[in-house]
Amino acid sequence: MYQVRFHGRGGQGVVTAAELLSVAAFMDGKHAQAFPSFGSERMGAPVAAFCRIHDQPIRIREPVATPDALIVQDSSLVRNADLLAGLDHTQLVLVNTRLTMDELKAEHLKKQVGLQKIILLPATEIALEIVKRNVPNVIMLSAFCAITGLISFETLTKAVQTKFSGKIAEANILAAEKAWKLVEGLGASRMEKPEWEVVHA
């Protein structure tokens, strides 16, 4: 089982990102489960969402407490207690920011997961440039898929097209491609193989 926890703020498409990852995993023949931390559907409020991917049906319903990967869509949350919980086994933390590691002031995060597992990506800047709106979710997801190798770019594109159509889908896919190319190759050198890949190798 591979577990991802998404953190961000209401309006950034955090829940959609978790759902998209589950759709993409489903398209690859995996079992997947995605759900939000409920009841916080307000613009700007901290939101978490979860996605589990497995080769068998998923029965467990608890929120993801010990994520394999963390996708942080809003860097102002890097010192948030909920975000910092349960990171003992976390292999990858992807943070949307244009700051450097020092400027980010994520000492707790660094201490918990180790510097080599944190990857910073200016997803909001990419979104504003290409999608023309502050919607970093597809961009972050694309980078995550490129780094981990969990989902191919083709599958991700197909999944995005189930949620968006027309110009919005096109712009998101273009932005996703840019993020993919930015981080491609980082996976092999910077992170260990996700557990379930090892299991199924």
């Binding site: 029965r59 467990i60 319903r61």
Partner: protein, 419 residues
């Protein structure tokens, strides 16, 4: 067709396949995406012929369906939480009249304090309103139960409530096999009413019944539930033959064959419990579990049979009956009457409190070793409760309970009184 889809949308697509002729709903919180999806399908013409009525309250939503059902229409609505309670009077009328309305309840807590999250307080409050209550373990079961529910409701002429855990299932994306129209048409025959309001052949439905016949009419209602005990498993078997999936039925057991301890629960928490059971089996504990699908009628015999060889029973439930404890546990004790066997109640997940497998497993091990109290709680913040109780004892104007507790939890200290 296999889809990765949100629970509510999966249910909406399935309801459309069941060809309801009248849908009535009150479309604001507490609601689910189910009726939203159905309204879009009616508007686009995908679901036709179907009358979609948006009404002024949940009370009106069910009342409208009572009329429509008496006119011979296949009827559906969905609600949640306070919405179900606002339907209370109409619920009793629908069952008392024997009208085969199907409803989804996206299970949520009841205020006060105001809370929109999942537990079973709503359907438990309405457990004796005469409706059949079926609980879904997963979104696939939610889909399959609705198809079975229409067949069951119409065969015995009784309303059926399909209980689907709010948020945990209704808002979760997972893999669901949505049947084809042909499959559902083959399984679900056209509705043939037992009673019909027809201007060409007038009858009266809903007469006042005095002391001379009320008891007998109420017994007939009870008898329909007894009939359902036979019909529910039969329909579940028919469904399995046609669709290749075993869902519904009265109860389902998991690794209980040589189990010393059996854990009993309703709804989606069974998934987490089954994962716990696997872990505990690996650690050498002989534990199994049982999911109750049909809570009303309550299958006393099937439950007694399933539990008879266990040494003890742990009932995990998402409700708290103030002044009693767990509602499901007291029903289980009735199923086991005459057999000396400890039945303990474990309350969890109230108001959306996350149910973690780790806490569940710790609790089940304690129960397995006979270390649980009659009534216990998973992940309860006892220090916060004790401090509030102490303050109530020493301060007359101790202030509102909910606000005090929330402040205490957020500060992790006991606050000064609010007022």
């Amino acid at each position: 067709m296999l889809k990765q889809i949100e629970g509510s949308h999966a249910v909406a697509e399935t309801i459309a396949l069941c060809r309801p002729e009248v849908i009535s709903c009150y479309p604001i919180t507490p609601q689910t995406h189910i009726v939203e999806g159905l309204s879009a399908m009616v508007k686009s013409g995908k679901l036709a012929p179907c009358e979609y009525m948006t009404v002024e309250s949940e009370f009106a939503a069910l009342s409208a369906l009572i009329g429509a059902s008496a006119m011979g229409a296949r009827t559906y609505t969905a609600t949640s939480s306070q919405g179900l309670l606002f339907m209370a009077e109409a619920l009793w009328n629908a069952s008392g009249l024997g009208l085969p309305i199907v409803m989804t309840d996206g299970n949520r807590a009841i205020g006060g304090p105001i809370n929109i999250w999942n537990d079973h307080s709503d359907t438990m409050a309405m457990r004796d309103c005469g409706w059949i209550q079926l609980y879904a373990e997963s979104n696939q079961e939610a889909v399959d139960l609705h198809i079975q529910a229409f067949k069951l409701a119409e065969e015995i002429s009784m309303p059926v409530m399909v209980c689907v855990d709010g948020f945990i299932l209704t808002h979760a994306y997972e893999r669901v096999d949505i049947p084809t129209q042909q499959q559902v048409d083959d399984f679900l025959p056209a509705y043939e009413p037992r009673q019909l309001l027809d201007p060409d052949d007038p009858i009266s439905i809903g007469a006042m019944v005095g002391p001379e016949a009320y008891m007998e009419v109420r017994y007939l209602l009870h008898n329909r539930h007894l009939q359902a005990l036979d019909v529910i498993p039969r329909i579940s078997d028919e469904f399995e033959n046609k669709f290749g999936r075993k869902h519904g039925g009265l109860v389902r057991t998991y690794r209980t064959q040589d189990a010393d301890t059996i854990v009993v629960a309703l709804g989606s928490v069974n998934g987490t419990i089954q994962d716990s059971v696997d872990d505990l089996r690996d650690a050498g504990h002989k534990i199994g579990s049982m999911s109750i699908c049909s809570f009303r009628p309550f299958p006393l015999k099937a439950i007694r049979t399933a539990l008879q060889h266990a040494q003890r029973v742990i009932v995990v439930e998402k409700n708290l009956a103030p002044g009693l404890g767990g509602i499901l546990a007291s029903n289980i004790r009735m199923a086991l009457r005459g057999i000396a066997k400890p039945v303990t109640t474990v309350i969890c997940g109230l108001g959306g409190r996350a149910i973690m497998k780790k806490s569940m497993s710790e609790c089940l091990v304690k129960g397995h070793q006979d270390q649980l109290e009659d009534l216990s709680f998973i992940d309860m913040n006892w220090p916060a409760i004790e401090r509030e109780l102490e303050r109530e004892k020493t301060t007359r104007r101790s202030g509102p309970m909910a606000e005090n507790l929330m402040y205490a939890v957020s500060q992790d200290v006991m606050p000064e009184p609010v007022s």
